[in-house]
Symmetry: D2
Subunit: 344 residues, 4 copies
């Protein structure tokens, strides 16, 4: 059994990791930590977990000591020292934060405002989006788990982009996120009476996930790709819906596009390519590690529209982190992740 520990277990991503790990056939949760709730059982913070995970929150060091793999669900900037400690102790480190996601330190400084504490670790780190970069992840020790938007958008566009069926310029990602993406800390924007019956964009064209998406799309296209990214906050708990727009290259057809997606994704357990005429819906992937994708063409304007739906807490965070763990340890990639989404 892989001994798994979670640092930052009382945040939403951490708590979801605990829940998913409890059903993993090849891993067991051995330690959790929380700065705010040290000394308290996780089930006191989340009464839903009562009798299922009454483990007491300890310290970060305890987690490192007791685990083969350390998942870090920490605010940005706090993962680098922990990564160093894990690396020094031979542990696998999977970071759900952003510290290791960007390969380019200049971009990291620009978007996150800090610099690399351990440039050597960054050189060792790999970006954990398995469906696009699986071979690089296997057996690695430091894995940067992608963010939620940055999972949904590249998966929606990669096959079309890789096959030259859409133009690299003028891509737009209009995304809609469930509220859990904003985390556990209450605030005015997520106060129930103010979010309920609301809908608005935020961080318009300046969200930190932008360079991360561009990094993945550029790798896939093997050329620089920029995109316009506008996130919106939805009054639902879970889910990312990414509606992505791109200009078709001359002569590209739906037939070619569907073939490219089938070639890319038919063997991917976690990607469900919807039949023509259906639209991806966050409802259908809730509490699962699936990414549903629907493909559309506006033939009046030669525009390609790919819509992807994931659960931001699962495929967009905790589920993908476990998928990366499975890859890092060389076990069945779907272990613990064959989650059956409820229909309602």
């Amino acid at each position: 059994m892989i001994r798994a520990g979670v640092v930052g277990a009382t945040g939403y991503a951490g708590a979801e990791l605990v829940r998913l790990l409890s059903g993993h056939p090849g891993a067991e949760l051995t330690a959790i930590s929380s700065v705010s709730f040290e000394g308290k059982p996780l089930s006191e913070v989340y009464p839903a977990y009562c009798h299922l995970c009454d483990m007491v929150c300890g310290t970060q060091s305890e987690v490192v000591e007791k685990s083969d793999v350390v998942f870090a669900a920490l605010p940005h900037g706090l993962s680098q020292e922990l990564a160093a400690e894990c690396y020094a102790n031979g542990k696998v480190f999977i970071d759900l934060g952003a510290d290791f996601r960007l390969e380019n330190e200049t971009e990291y400084k620009e978007w996150y405002g800090g610099s690399y504490v351990h440039p050597d670790l960054h050189a060792l780190a790999v970006y954990g989006l398995p469906e696009l970069f699986r071979e690089k992840i296997r057996g690695k020790k430091i894995i940067a788990n992608p963010g939620c938007y940055t999972t949904a958008v590249p998966l929606a566009l990669a096959p079309a982009l890789r096959n030259g069926l859409i133009q690299k310029e003028g891509i737009i990602a209009d995304c809609k996120s469930g509220v859990t993406g904003a985390g556990r800390s209450p605030g005015q924007k997520t106060h129930y009476p103010e979010l309920n019956e609301s809908m608005s964009a935020y961080k318009v064209a300046c969200h930190r996930h932008t360079p991360e998406m561009e990094q993945s799309l550029s790798r896939v296209a093997d050329a620089p790709v920029k995109l316009t990214f506008v996130p919106h906050l939805l009054p639902v708990n879970r889910g990312i819906l990414a509606t992505c727009y791109a200009k078709l290259t001359d002569g590209a057809t739906m037939e070619q596009i569907r073939k490219a997606y089938h070639d890319a994704y038919d063997s991917e357990y976690f990607i469900r390519l919807l039949p023509q005429g259906r639209e991806a819906d966050i409802k259908n992937v809730r509490c699962s590690n699936f990414c549903d994708i629907s493909l559309h063409i506006d033939s009046r304007t030669d525009t390609f529209i790919a819509i992807s739906a994931i659960d931001n807490m699962v495929k967009g965070a905790a589920g993908q982190a476990i998928q990366n763990m499975n890859l890092a340890f060389g076990i069945e990639e779907t272990a613990g992740l064959k989650l059956f989404p409820p229909a309602f």
Copy 2:
């Protein structure tokens, strides 16, 4: 492996059964039927099930033929002939409808308007609320699975009632139900814009679950018990919250009450008695087979208040049906039902 079939698989309870059975270690889904969707895969009705249950809906007879246990999720009145067919063929029959729930045919006529088609089968049928009547269920062939309200209310009150700590007269059950309880068929009351931001009672003091609750409570009290039952419809998908009021008997204390509940429920996997000062919340049992119960006393008026929360689709329908299957087949009662509710 127990071969399990679901008649009425495209209704909400049927669909939830399919989902839960897919994770059962000792049972496998062998056949499903649907009158409305015969010949279509279940995943066409519920795209969330795509790749997970693409089984095609057949006929009722096919289900009986291919299964060791037949779950019926049918409108009231349609289960009796199916029960007879199952019984004749040696199958276990678990009815999620109301046809076999009432022991008293007079009450059945009064509340449901029909008569017993096969009185002999009714004599064989057992009422499947395991935490109260477990021993009667083991090994049985015809099991009436309780309704959602009729699970939540008796579980909330039984230990106090059995131990004479509350009066048998004047019990009130003010219940609040999620919308899935109203089923899959659209209607004006469940049309999104009309239910959203609404809250109201319905079938005030005349809901068909009333005699079923009274039957259970009377058995527990070993004396006739009547209660006032008012259900309300909540703008949430899943959950029953039952706020139950009863007069304390003279001198009954919270200490005695908590002891009675601990004695009754500490060994029950699916019942979580909350610590003093917490209130049961439907959120914490969602997608699980738990029944959370909190206990309160209004010492100013000598009133006992027990609040229970279940997921109406799981402990209130499909989950409990599987629990009954496990009992009927003599396997581990919690098999397939150790469901970890999401925290959000």
Copy 3:
């Protein structure tokens, strides 16, 4: 024109007052104050108010100076000094807080933990529930505006109680409140992902509105009345639904009950007695000053059930405060309050 000022204008009740006063034909908003947002326009706090109320928040003293009537929407305990200042300056003072609601200082101490700062002012204060105590309110200078639950429950029960049709013992009020009742300050319980799809009780049988309800019901019954009160938090923005249970007195009939309610309420603009067979729904009173009431009897248990629905922010706070202002100034009681609730 009555010059109206609002102290605590950036809280939910204060903001709703501002909105409703803007449509009042005989009053104009002349000043607002806020401790947290002094110097800022109200429309910065509530962008919905942009161009409609861009008035800048000033100090409490400025409000007193510029107004004929001062509405106070302050945390409990802070109104008494303000009341004194208003009274000294000949202003009408309408308190949306609890400081002047309880006539009995002992009860005030027990439930709120403070003592009366100006006992003489308390002697002058009147409880502003117009449909029950209208004559006492006219022309008064200090008016305690009832809370939301304490409007809904007494209105639901008063005619039955006054006419001796229900017993004074054993009354139960099972209430469900929209989230705006919890105020504007974010917290874990009202954080969107934790309240959404949830339902639970809170302050079971120990909510501060209990003695206030009992005070009103005791006056109506002309005898001491105690009740059991359990509030619940609903995942909707606005509304109180009060499901009230009482034992019928011997021989009391629905006919007598309906007559009592018609006699009491047919001339009340803000009370809508629903026809037999309908149930009160918070949806139907949203953004209005109505109190809808439906009447039911459980003849199996001789229990009377009255269900009332109000908008907690209007009839349960700001609307009723304006109704009290109208009474205090001797103008048409419905002025500014003929609000037409949206159907969806």
Copy 4:
């Protein structure tokens, strides 16, 4: 007083018209009709309207007879004969359906599948989007009231387009609609448990509002404009959020853009241009006739992003229809429409 009648009063748009007309100082509701509820009071269909509009639904002819202006809230295709009848009788006809919106019969045939029954009437009809085409509307007899999306999108883009600040090619409108836009009839997609916690697109790049938007934008640009339009269904009752993307023309700056919008809209009562750094939110316009607009630039990709928010039932239907009535009759354009949106 203008005598106003509503044909199709029991649909959502019709019901909202009734509600808004009740507060209009210069108009009175004189007749309503409904095919499904003929002979029944409107308040039986919408209990929220009880005591406020208990008017009984009559026939279409009765409405025409008793009214100076007839609002038609009918399914597409049914308005043309009614328009003829109104025109013959000298009534003003305001159509909330699509029959008179498209100037080009070929487009009408392509998107709606029917032909013009009275081409002469179509020649007389005017498109009622006042902020863009006000002068054409004044005093007219047949007015085509725009749809909801087709109000939000052109208002968001018009000033930039008219002033040549954005390119006419490659415009994308990613829109999100509240559920009332789908009407009063229940269906599987709007069944509460299936829409709640969901989010998906529908009619991707093939929604009938597309040619209507293009017609308005082409007029504004004085050149053919095509756009890609993708609507999404939101789990909220009211609101359209339109996130519109366009390529900046060379050298266009935010300063120029803001100036263009200020020039166009500062004198428009119903348009609120948000300050830099804010984002339009449907919450802030709910139950009002406002259109809130926020402006953004993605300077990394030279993309202009305009976000508009309206209440689909008010500015997107009933409110705008009354605005058109006011223009047609030459009274104050804002009469009856100075609606103050609730903050929560």
